[in-house]
């Protein structure tokens, strides 16, 4: 087995204090190995985004710890970490090209190389012809493509994704799944992907961490055995996919039932 890149140890997070204290995440432990694609799935409010925020240093844990490459995460994420937000975080005052170039500019990459790498990313995301467009003129799916490419162009070894396709329609989502899998297959990042969409998790991930309702605990860790490379469309009709979906849905379904009672 590949080395452990992210180690989550006994992680807890509470918000507020005193009688208004709410436990969001309770004693969660799991590992993410090098070049592994791990999805975290659970009902809304289960603390899955909170876990991702803590891995990305956006939130400090209340208990336990997170090690990235053996080092405890501090108040600032390391340079090897990229993050794609659920919310649209494309800079509205920059064009598509200027947005994708951001990370390279921050790192002081030479203009000629920036141009080459941005051009490559634009082509990869199918954004040709929109290089000089401002985000206000783009669809939600295109904006999220820009956000994805902006994170990928700096080649982060670890990519944290917080429901990046949550606001998109099914068709756009499937296209982006295919693109993401293609890029991931070529670049082999370590990915932690948070979603509430089970089929998305099965399509993309090697392993799925299934969370309980609040306070979020790990219900089970599920190994997805579907072979790679995966065809995101054909996959959905395969017997293995349906079987895996059923198994996890069963586990998740209990969580939804508990809430209803």
């Amino acid at each position: 087995m590949a080395r452990v890149r992210i180690a989550v140890r006994d992680l807890s997070k509470t918000f507020g204090a005193g009688p208004r204290e709410v436990a969001a995440v309770s004693r969660v432990s799991f590992d993410v190995h090098d070049k592994e694609f791990v999805a975290i799935v659970g009902p809304s409010g289960c603390g899955k985004s909170t876990i991702l925020n803590m891995i990305g240093s956006l939130l400090m844990p209340s208990g336990g710890e997170i090690l990235v490459d053996g080092e405890r995460v501090g108040p600032r994420a390391g340079r090897q970490v990229g993050y794609v937000f659920q919310k649209d975080t494309v800079f509205p005052w920059r064009t598509v090209e200027q947005n994708i170039a951001l990370g390279l500019q921050y790192r002081g990459v030479a203009p000629a190389e920036i141009r080459a790498r941005v051009g490559e990313a634009v082509a990869l995301a199918g954004l040709q012809g929109f290089e000089d467009a401002f985000p206000a003129t783009l669809s939600g799916g295109m904006r999220q493509r820009v956000a994805l490419m902006r994170s990928l162009v700096v080649n982060p070894e670890i990519l944290l994704m917080d429901e990046p396709f949550g606001a998109l329609d099914t068709h756009t989502k499937l296209n982006l799944h295919a693109e993401l899998l293609g890029i991931w297959g070529a670049r082999q990042q370590t990915v932690v992907f948070v979603t509430h969409d089970l089929s998305e998790a099965i399509t993309l991930a090697d392993r799925i961490v299934v969370m309980t309702r609040r306070p979020g605990r790990i219900k089970l860790v599920y190994e997805v055995k579907l072979p790679r490379p995966r065809d995101v469309i054909a996959l959905r009709e395969s017997a293995e996919y349906l079987r895996e979906y059923g198994e996890i849905w069963h586990a998740l379904g209990e969580e939804f039932q508990e809430r209803a009672s």
Binding site: V81, G82, Y83, F85, K87, P92, W93, T95, A136, T137
Partner: protein, 271 residues
């Protein structure tokens, strides 16, 4: 489409012509025939378009010590300087205090107190300190523009989307790069929204300053107050007309700059 626009312009010109015509006509009807000086609508107070045009021609000629163009230039200069210094200082102060909470908290009551002071009340004091030249008018315009821009930028710098800052940080931005690439552009959008009111208020400040400013920094405000002294409504009307044109041109100029700098905004996207 084009015909619709043409129609709109035809209406506008029609209204203007009707207005000027009625003004000219009504101020010419005597109330009691042959008795001089008694009118239904007395041109002594509101003058007449024909007289105003004559006075305008006279004021542009070299028969006067200070032509209307010189006065207009003086007013424009004071306004633009006050505006430029006002937006730069207001922007910088708003940006700094918007990002640093502690000094903002400390200074808050002073800022509110100074801003609640009616600026007009400062005119004599500012004139006393800065003299009768352009400087006093610039300071006056600045004191108004500064606060408008300051409050807007302050709000803008405070309401920068935290997730934009986070994503910049994940892309490797230093604190300085976050300032220049995230905070400044976000705040600028708010600053620009304050430019149109700023230029109008700068003009107000300058004209009021000119009311008591004397001849050395004599602008259109000086002409207005001189005309009050000589009970000359026509000259006042000339000054008001020129001020109106200046105001419109400046506001249109700002709109152009704004549309250029904020071209990324949905409301400026033409496609």
């Amino acid at each position: 489409m084009n015909g619709g626009r043409l129609g709109v312009w035809a209406w506008r010109i029609g209204i203007l012509v009707a207005f000027l015509g009625a003004w000219e006509y009504l101020t010419g009807i005597k109330a009691i025939s042959k008795t001089p000086g008694l009118y239904w609508i007395d041109p002594f107070f509101i003058s007449r378009p024909s007289v105003i045009a004559q006075r305008f021609a006279y004021l542009t000629s070299d028969k006067v010590r200070l032509t209307i163009w010189q006065m207009a230039l003086s007013t424009i200069q004071s306004t633009l300087w006050g505006f430029l210094v006002g937006i730069t200082t207001g922007f910088l102060a708003g940006l700094v205090l918007g990002r640093y909470e502690r000094p903002a908290r400390i200074l808050d009551p002073f800022i509110v107190a100074f801003n609640s002071l009616p600026r007009i009340a400062l005119v004599p004091l500012i004139t006393m300190i800065f003299g009768f030249g352009l400087l006093a008018k610039i300071v006056l315009a600045w004191s108004i523009v500064f606060f408008i821009v300051f409050f807007n930028t302050f709000q803008g710098a405070r309401s920068v989307d935290a997730d934009l800052i986070h994503s910049a940080r994940f892309l490797g931005a230093s604190e300085r790069q976050i300032m220049t690439s995230v905070v400044v552009p976000s705040a600028l959008a708010w600053t620009f929204a304050s430019l149109t009111p700023s230029i109008s208020f700068a003009l107000i400040g300058v004209v009021v300053g000119e009311f008591i400013g004397g001849e050395s920094g004599g602008g259109l405000g000086y002409l207005i107050i001189q005309s009050l002294g000589t009970l000359n409504a026509a000259d006042m009307m000339v000054a008001l007309f020129v001020l109106g044109v200046i105001g419109i041109v400046m506001a249109l100029g700002i709109k152009q700059v704004e549309a250029r700098l904020l071209r990324w905004r949905p409301e400026y996207q033409k496609r």
